[in-house]
Amino acid sequence: MSEFVIQTRGLVKEYRGRKAVDQLNLEIKHGEIYGFLGPNGAGKTTTIRMLLGLVKPTKGAIRILGKDLQKEKLSILGKVGSLVEYPSYYGHLNATENLEAIRRILDAPKSRIAEVLDIVSLTKEAKRPVKGFSLGMKQRLGIASALLGNPELLILDEPTNGLDPSGIQEIRELIKTMPEQHGITVLVSSHLLSEVELMATKVGIIREGRMVFQDTIERLRRQAETGIRLSVSAPEQALAAAQEKGYDGVIDGAFLNFTKLHNKDVAVLVRHLVENHHDIYRVEEQKKSLEEIFMRIVGEGAAS
């Protein structure tokens, strides 16, 4: 139980009878960068808000850093740094004062302000009012605030939202250093797989409030390599022939697509088609991109 930094059991949040989050079991281990993925409105932010005690779960239990969130909320929050949705800031204060307002509550040493400003490379802008900051700078200030209390766990909700590619890259590099250099476990949410795939060690994919995939990014990649695509002379008749042998495929134009075929199955299928006088022009292994896998996982059930 205590090996998890975050663990939820049967987490449910209902808004007027609609389940925004449904039976969610999150499991995040120490030192991981956990990519929390899902389309907009899937329940990521609601989950994160529950993890931070901003909203109360309708049902279920949350344990963070080995403690029950409901019972020991303040002691947990003291060890968690967070950035929820868009960055929070006091526009009329400069960057240092913004951090000072938070530092006073956290009771962190004064020197920490300069340290976190340096980590997010805002030292030069420290004395400018934050209302004049670009979105990327505000985002970095948000991360600086999250780091201020030397957290053991960093929860970042869409930290790259609205950033340009170089800003995204910068934040990604920053996040990647957290576990190694600072021993911080990171939960980072996004609606784009491409944003987290380069930094996450583990991903959880949420759809309509339910967890549909939770494993390492390698496992997700492995799912990508299972498709076989045949280019044949008469797809419809070929499909019928394949079905005789128990292989169910999908017609895609002049192609037949099969999933979950082992080498032996491919051999049997091809021989069967040839024996039935089908011309086979091409046998391809279909490597779906991770993004396609993600879209498929996320898209399933959307039609039903």
Binding site: L54, Y90, G91, R104
Partner: protein, 244 residues
């Protein structure tokens, strides 16, 4: 309460960098103009009458409106910059946050009252008053007036917390302040109307015999204190339940 002191110093920092001080000194300035320009008859020259003149605008308009403005502003930076999520995800008791914000609002109102007192005494001496400084009057009227703004401060702070809007509670506050003069005439309703309570308290000391002004101070104070408790507890409960 170590945690409360920290939250309070954080709130003070946020407010110290605003232009709120203009509002704090505005009412004493307006009141001093009234005090300088008003034509008090020779045979009525007394501390009591001067207070009645100077406190009229201050207690009727400023004292009910200022708590709303201060409360709205102290929540504004959380509303505008998405600060609620940030501050409530910090290791802070929600009740400490509410009490800290309330303390800052009450503190600014106290500063305004103190400045008013200074201006009041200054103008009294300027007009050549020879009677000793009316400490009892200051205690009942000015200190009492400050206490009478606290229910409003709690009510407005609660409204500003619940509404994710800066302007709505502010506008409502002004709307409820406008009929003050009418409400004050009603002996039955006035003591229960939070927007007129500061005026009743400040002016009841200087004897004006109409409407609710001749009610005993103790009766008004009882209502003030109990409505303060109701609004303050409501605020504590609501911030505890606030979902952000």
């Amino acid at each position: 309460m170590a945690s409360f002191a920290k939250v309070l110093s954080s709130e003070r920092l946020k407010m110290s960098k605003t232009n709120m001080w203009i509002l704090v000194i505005m009412s004493p300035i307006v009141s001093s103009l009234v005090g300088i320009l008003s034509n008090i008859p020779e045979d009525h020259k007394s501390w009591g009458v001067l207070l009645m003149y100077m406190a009229s605008v201050h207690a009727m308009l400023f004292l009910p409106i200022l708590p709303g403005v201060f409360a709205a502003f102290i929540c504004r930076y959380e509303h505008v910059g998405g600060g609620w999520k940030q501050i409530l995800a910090l290791p802070v008791k929600r009740s400490s946050l509410y009490i800290a914000k309330f303390t800052v609002v009450a503190g600014m109102l106290a500063v305004s009252q103190l400045l008013f007192t200074a201006v009041y005494l200054g103008i009294g001496f300027m007009r050549g008053f020879t009677a000793p400084i009316p400490w009892e009057l200051i205690a009942t009227s000015i200190l009492g007036g400050w206490i009478a703004t606290l229910p409003l401060a709690a009510l407005q702070l609660t409204a500003s917390l619940v509404w994710t809007s800066f302007a709505a509670p502010l506008a409502l506050n002004v709307i409820f302040t406008l009929p003050n003069m009418l409400v004050a005439n009603s002996e039955r309703f006035a003591p229960y109307y939070p927007w007129v309570q500061p005026m009743l308290t400040m002016l009841s000391a200087s004897s004006e015999d109409f409407g609710a002004f001749n009610l005993p101070l103790s009766q008004i104070m009882t209502i003030v204190v109990s409505s303060f408790v109701v609004f303050f507890v409501a605020g504590l409960v609501l911030i505890g339940r606030k979902e952000v």
